[in-house]
Amino acid sequence: MLKIHFGEYEGQIDYINTYFDHTFRREGFDDPMVRAMIKDVDKSEVICGSAIDSPVLGPISPRELSGGVKMLISMLKNPDETNVYWGYVLR
């Protein structure tokens, strides 16, 4: 279940880029849901393993995915309620 907390939260994950880059697992990219997220948000295709083809940047590794999709993948793969991700409202 997605819960939204307004304001600061102790232990929140502030730096999604750093967090994702050190926690992602190659096998995670075999998940059709992860592939769909990458396709939908970053308009990029997972070619094989964790190699990704971006229309903007060319061939990339998961480290070059956008902060938005990194957060979505982290939320999917770490559903533990103790993980709180920091974000803000885009207007």
């Binding site: 903007v56 060319g58 956008s66």
Partner: protein, 327 residues
Amino acid sequence: MHITISDKHLRYVFDIHRKYTVIRGDSATGKTTLYEMLVKWERRDQSVQLESPLRCVTAQGLGYYNWEDNIRKAHNTIIFIDEDMEWVRSRKFASIAKTVDCYFVFINRDKLSTIPYSVKEIYEVASSGRDHWLQPLYSSSCREFTPDYIMTEDSKSGHQFFRVPFGDRCVTAEGKSNVSKKLGESPYCDSNVLVIADGAAFGSEIAEVLALDNFKFNRLKLFLPESFEFLLLKSPLFKEDVRVQEMLRNIPDSIPAFCESWEQFFTTFIQRVTEDTPAKYTKHRLKDCFVEPCCTGHQECRLHTPEDKVQSILDQIPDVDFSKIRK
């Protein structure tokens, strides 16, 4: 200032025009990649080449804990800051940034309400193959519009001016951050409203205003000149003033480097050129000279003009029919 940063696969080419530049746009367009290339260059990674007339540093280079001191010590520098840096949203950062002779490029989708940035300096990254560049996020439209109300961002000189032709049909939002709230209130939410605000410092509000239903349903038009003073300087009052005409001919070169906001520049400029005249300009109280027909005073006035001053300003607002509300 022309900047090029490239590696074997990508090349970003863009210009910086004002003290504050904001890069926004969708995920995966290459914003973070631009920033990371700058970080690599800063760490002397030889795969990245940078061409810039001024020194470039990133927020990473400034450090998380001693950014204040490092910004104060920076001179003639372009500072790139991404959205991971929380301090960029603080008032402390805004007050330090204001005083230093540096340019700031924010790669950030936040509102950044403490920074007076222009709507013209908000960009998104566009790309074609290897090449990436910055293109303005907002452009003007030529849609015809007949307003029921005029809304100014505050009640200073601009509001006082537009009260003359439009009376009670000209209302104030009492601050630029209140514009979107006021547009949601009755009767403005159900009426055609023309918002007039200083484009040179309206960058933080534009996204919120354009997200309103009023805009989606074509009941809202924005007129965002650099500032109200800029409109006045283009009026017939200053037609014969060489200093004003010279400045208007080449605005970017007339404005000092590191000027925090063009709005401030135009205010100071109009104050200077009207200093020893009956039209001495103050932001808080607009002199009759700017709206009434010129008098035939005892002295020869160098601002004398036979033209209709109010109409000359209204003529600068394109594609708007004022007939419904004009007194």
